[in-house]
């Protein structure tokens, strides 16, 4: 199953027997007109349904026919060797878009001949060779392997985007009003602050994001060739909705940038596989409307990236730090809530159990007692930095994982997540057993669970 899940990227080197250089790729990109390259890449993404996690071999073959008028036979012969071989992928397209933004211009020439199309197809193949910044070695430890695979695996489409949107809205609409959240020392009225800043409620914002996602989904379902003008999201796109026009314009402004702005962001996030600038602003302002550079990144704005939308509301560091702490509380409360809603077993779920003497002397964020099993939960809303995620460096990644989930070296007295669980288990095994809210004499198995909001723990090797 694992290889099929991960897929095999077919590169220029597999087809033509030599490694391409980044200069070769840049040369192709600088030759052609930027707008045509961007619109063409978007059409490939639409055909591919790049937001979709399922692999569709027939789509790969159709795209090979269309984009390799001269080299299709060679590309197909390689693809036949790999049943799950990917010539076209979301990751490759993101890498290509990054190259287009960085190197192309308005003064390139039209894409006008089969040879031009074939050069672009070959450029996409080059991307598959160039974006992989890591060759696994036999001596690599688990962390190095995790860091090596993370940039690629994180860009694979996820099937859980809609779940993320639902969870985010529950956190805002259902969890924020809960008493334990409202009484938290770091409480922020996020829903009111959001409406004040953007002119839309978080629910309306999610509706707007759904509306934007409908655009590529509808285009992808059309059987005819999509005209360039239809690929753009027109300024009147939301005019038939009840959403306030000024607020829509404001949010579209927050979600978009022009080429120069995007290029300048790319000089800050300069790792070639770091797509943070596109992730931050997935819409590109063009003449005639907005171009959606990546539908998944748009969708994530109402889901796993919603925290960053909230973060953008607060410009001062002090409030931003408060938000980070408060979001952790909201997440912990959400964890309690989902257990209230869905647990159907016969065990006892205990939010914030304490060692008994002092209520603030917490064993864990939550505990579950099920017959002779004790499950302890620590919830962490911390997010691993993009610098650690896209470094290909196991040491850097390990340091950030340690800081976010075990112990911040700057706060030596305060353990987090894993550190808290370990300390509590040590205490439960050695002392303090009389006042805990369950009978430790009956416990024969202790399970410790770190629950994260950052999906990084689902990536290869991280859980181990």
């Amino acid at each position: 199953m694992t290889a099929e899940r991960f897929g095999v990227f077919i590169g220029f080197s597999d087809v033509f027997g030599r490694n391409p250089t980044s200069e070769e790729l840049a040369e192709v990109v600088t030759t052609f007109l930027r707008s045509q390259l961007l619109l063409g890449t978007t059409k490939v993404a639409l055909k591919l349904k790049s937001w979709f996690s399922d692999f569709e071999p027939s789509t790969q073959d159709e795209l090979i026919e269309g984009l390799f008028p001269l080299s299709a036979t060679q590309v197909k012969s390689v693809r036949q060797r790999y049943p799950v071989g990917l010539v076209f992928s979301r990751l490759g397209l993101l890498y290509f878009i990054r190259q287009i933004i960085q190197f192309s211009s308005e003064f390139g020439r039209d894409i006008s001949s089969p040879a031009d199309l074939d050069r672009i197809g070959c450029a996409l193949l080059m991307c598959n060779d160039l974006y992989l910044g890591y060759d696994p070695g036999p001596d690599d430890d688990v962390l190095q392997r995790a860091a090596g695979f993370l940039p690629a695996s994180e860009s694979l489409p996820s099937s859980g985007c809609m779940d993320e949107v639902a969870r985010t809205l529950i956190m805002i609409r259902t969890i924020l009003p809960r008493p334990e959240v409202r009484l938290d020392a770091d409480y922020l009225d996020l829903a009111a602050d959001f409406e004040g800043k953007y002119g839309l409620t978080p629910t309306q914002f999610a509706n707007l994001i759904c509306g934007l996602i409908v655009h590529p989904i509808n285009l992808a379902d059309r059987n005819d060739v999509v005209p360039n003008s239809d690929v753009l999201i027109k300024p009147d796109y939301f005019s038939r909705t009840h959403l306030d026009a000024a607020a829509v314009e404001k949010v579209m402004g927050e979600l978009s940038s022009d080429v120069e702005e995007l290029r300048s962001e790319m000089t800050i996030f300069d790792r070639s596989i770091d797509f943070t600038p596109i992730q931050k602003r997935p819409l590109l302002r063009m003449r005639g409307g907005h171009l959606c550079l990546d539908p998944t990144y748009i969708f994530e704005k109402a889901g796993k990236a919603f925290f960053w939308v909230l973060r953008a509301m607060y410009s001062d560091d002090k409030t931003a730090e408060r938000l980070l702490r408060f979001w952790g509380k909201v997440f912990e409360s959400y964890h309690d809530w989902i257990w209230e809603q869905e647990y159907q077993g016969s065990g006892q779920y205990l939010p914030s159990p304490s060692f008994g003497v002092n209520e603030s002397d917490e064993i864990a964020d939550a505990a579950l007692v099920e017959e002779d099993a004790l499950v302890l939960f620590e919830c962490k809303a911390s997010i691993i930095t993009s610098a650690a995620k896209y470094s290909f460096n196991g040491t850097l990644l390990g340091r950030d994982l340690y800081k976010k989930f075990v112990q911040d070296p700057k706060e030596k007295s305060r353990l987090k997540g894993v550190g808290q669980l370990a300390r509590s288990i040590r205490r439960l095994c050695a002392e303090d057993r009389r006042h805990v809210p369950f009978n430790m004499q009956r416990i024969e198995h202790i399970y410790s669970v770190l629950v994260t909001l950052d999906p990084i723990v689902q990536e290869p090797f991280i859980r181990q």
Binding site: T2, R5, D163, I425, H445, V449, P460
Partner: protein, 110 residues
């Protein structure tokens, strides 16, 4: 004492280091690091099996898989399907339906 250890040296290594060699009679399993969506999905099957068992099987699936590890669909659900167990409440799924209904209402002609 950590019986049934799984392999690896990331978060689990930290857990073992931090926890030390607890001299107790309980069996302490290794740390399970999971995303909240894993909890949401596992909870749906607590109508059929204790959560502790579900998460233990889930972690075993992770230890076996090298790449996209821990997909519930690949490990836990086939075990349940063989026993013809149906999933219970799906809170997230119900909310998704609600979101689609709300989305339809933003259009003026609805």
């Amino acid at each position: 004492m950590f019986k049934n250890r799984l392999s690896g040296n990331n978060l689990n290594e930290q857990f073992r280091t931090q926890c030390g060699d607890c001299n107790a009679s309980e069996t302490i399993t290794p740390l399970f690091a999971v995303h909240i969506s894993d909890i949401e999905r596992l909870l749906r099957y607590t109508n059929a099996r204790p959560f502790a068992q579900l998460i233990r099987d889930f972690a075993r699936g992770n230890a076996d898989a090298k790449y996209r590890a821990g997909a519930i669909a690949d490990y836990v659900l086939p075990l349940l399907k063989r026993k013809e167990v149906k999933a219970g409440r799906d809170t997230i799924g119900q909310h998704i339906e609600g979101i689609f209904k709300e989305f339809a209402l933003i259009f003026k002609d609805q």
